[in-house]
């Protein structure tokens, strides 16, 4: 997977939101197993969305079977997250898979980039991947003053 710079994350995202994962479900759609994270939106930094959104990711668990997908972001109920999202046939998905999902601590500060899900990154041609940057404040990620 090619790493995305923070500029690419911002520009490719149709919406950038902060929120809390209030539920996580797994569905089977077109033969695939996917996870749906229900996110209560606390702040919108780019684009327009409702107060609750559904974010889809590849993989998930149904009964005793699990689909593990390299690079797919993981969501857990209660997670505070900063999300860079694009629309895929009416569904929200994270830009660059795990690269578009950032976990926040209780004070809203970026705690860490999402788990890579075992994916390996190619460095972008024009800089370091955002997930490899030591500076990871929300303000830096969304661009000073927001990315509207």
């Amino acid at each position: 997977m090619r790493g995305l710079t923070v500029g690419q994350l911002r520009s490719r995202a149709e919406v950038i939101v902060e929120g809390k994962v209030v539920d996580v479900r797994t569905v089977r759609a077109d033969g695939r197993i996917e996870t749906i994270a229900i996110v209560r939106v606390r702040q919108v930094h780019k684009g327009e969305v409702g107060r609750r959104i559904q974010v889809r990711a590849l993989g998930g668990a149904i009964r005793d079977r699990r689909m593990v997908v390299e690079g797919a972001p993981n969501f857990a109920k209660g997670d505070a997250v900063l999300l860079f999202l694009y629309s895929d046939e009416g569904l929200w998905r994270a830009v660059g898979m795990f690269q578009g999902v950032w976990h926040l601590d209780s004070e809203g500060i970026v705690a860490r980039a999402s788990d890579s899900g075992g994916a390996s990154l190619l460095q972008p041609a024009n800089g370091n991947a955002a997930v490899d940057q030591p500076e990871r404040s929300v303000a830096w990620l969304i661009g000073r003053g927001g990315a509207r």
């Binding site: 997977m1 694009y86 860490r112 994916a119 190619l122 490899d132």
Partner: protein, 333 residues
């Protein structure tokens, strides 16, 4: 990597205490979870081998002289022909397949779908597993739209196709990213870095042959009947407490064998699949660019210790074929 080789003889005081340790996986398996205290590692059953895969007709559209098929089969052979291992994958046939769909087919899909625009992944492996981690089906989606593959080694025309396939089939077999690797001064990945090194080879970089770390991994996961390998196991502690996520590396400087493993939450490590040799030991934290999030699975937990000091131990462990050296209680600070 070369820094490790140079530095190893400059050892510090050894701590060598025999203690009883619980089994823990060595190398870097795809450890995704714990259930009832047992690590859940994605793996194929030995009886599943050789595993048939079906692949999109014509494979990549970037290469039209048939060399992509040869490179693909060479990548399969790289993992299938490891002496002492039962692992094997073979190309059953070319047909239209869809990756990620639960259909009982191990599908390798080369997709040129416009929906991939902007996704920028090289390939994604999907693994359907049951509760104990056994892989029931695995698929691979290869981005044939954006990446640009080549079969000309060292070419700047694209990513080396065989290198990409060898790495991806390591994932397909259940190996996780390895922290065992490093960079040359020009920022290219060191030649000795594991094929499964967590950072991907870029344009002009190749890694078509397995390194010792990769071979040890496949030996440990899928030993052939009657095969016998050496192992080293123990516990890493800091102020008496177990260290989670410590990278334990053993090195035989004569045979130039470098193999590593990460400790489990209880601080235990086990490096399996080793050839006979005389090994030196080093323990180091996961540091950028191979941070815990690059390894995946359980190693992304917040309690991975990345703050201890790298330490060399001037212990030489002599291992004959099939010998096990256990009970290394190594203290870091």
């Amino acid at each position: 990597m070369k820094r490790l080789v140079r530095s190893l003889p400059v050892g510090l005081a050894a701590v060598f205490v025999a203690v009883a340790v619980s089994p823990a996986p060595g190398y870097v398996p795809n450890t995704i979870d714990f259930v009832d205290g047992e690590a859940v590692i994605t793996h194929w059953a030995i009886s599943d081998f050789p595993i048939p895969v079906r692949v999109t007709p014509g494979l990549t559209t970037d290469i039209n002289d048939g060399s992509d098929r040869s490179a693909f089969e060479s990548a399969l052979a790289t993992w299938s022909n490891v002496g002492g291992s039962s692992a094997g994958v073979f190309l059953e046939r070319e047909q239209d397949v869809e990756a990620g769909v639960v259909d009982g087919i191990n599908a390798i899909e080369f997709s040129n779908d416009p929906a991939l625009d902007g996704s920028q992944f090289v390939a994604i492996t999907f693994m359907l597993i049951n509760g104990d981690g056994r892989i029931i089906e695995a698929d691979m989606l290869v981005n044939d739209r954006e990446i640009g593959f080549t079969t000309s080694a060292r070419s700047n025309a694209g990513l080396d196709f065989e290198t990409a396939m060898v790495k991806e089939f390591g994932s397909f077999l259940g190996l996780a990213n390895s922290p065992l690797g490093g960079f040359e001064s020009d920022q290219t990945i060191d030649e000795t870095s594991a094929v499964m090194y967590a950072l991907a080879r870029g344009i002009g970089e190749t890694a078509r042959a397995l390194r010792a770390d990769d071979v040890a991994g496949i030996h440990a996961m899928y030993p052939a009947p009657g095969a016998s390998f050496a192992s080293i196991s123990g516990t890493i502690t800091r102020a008496g407490n177990p260290v989670f996520g410590a990278h334990v590396v053993v090195h035989d400087p004569i045979a130039d064998v470098l193999v590593g493993a990460l400790t489990l939450p209880d601080g235990t490590f086990r490096i399996d699949g080793l050839p006979a040799g005389r090994y030196l030991m080093e323990v180091l934290p996961l540091t950028a660019p191979v941070v815990p999030a690059r390894i995946g699975g359980i190693y992304t937990r917040d309690d991975v210790d990345t703050t201890f000091q790298r330490k060399f131990f001037d212990v030489t462990v002599r291992l004959g074929a099939g010998q096990n050296a256990s009970g290394f209680n190594l203290e870091v600070s």
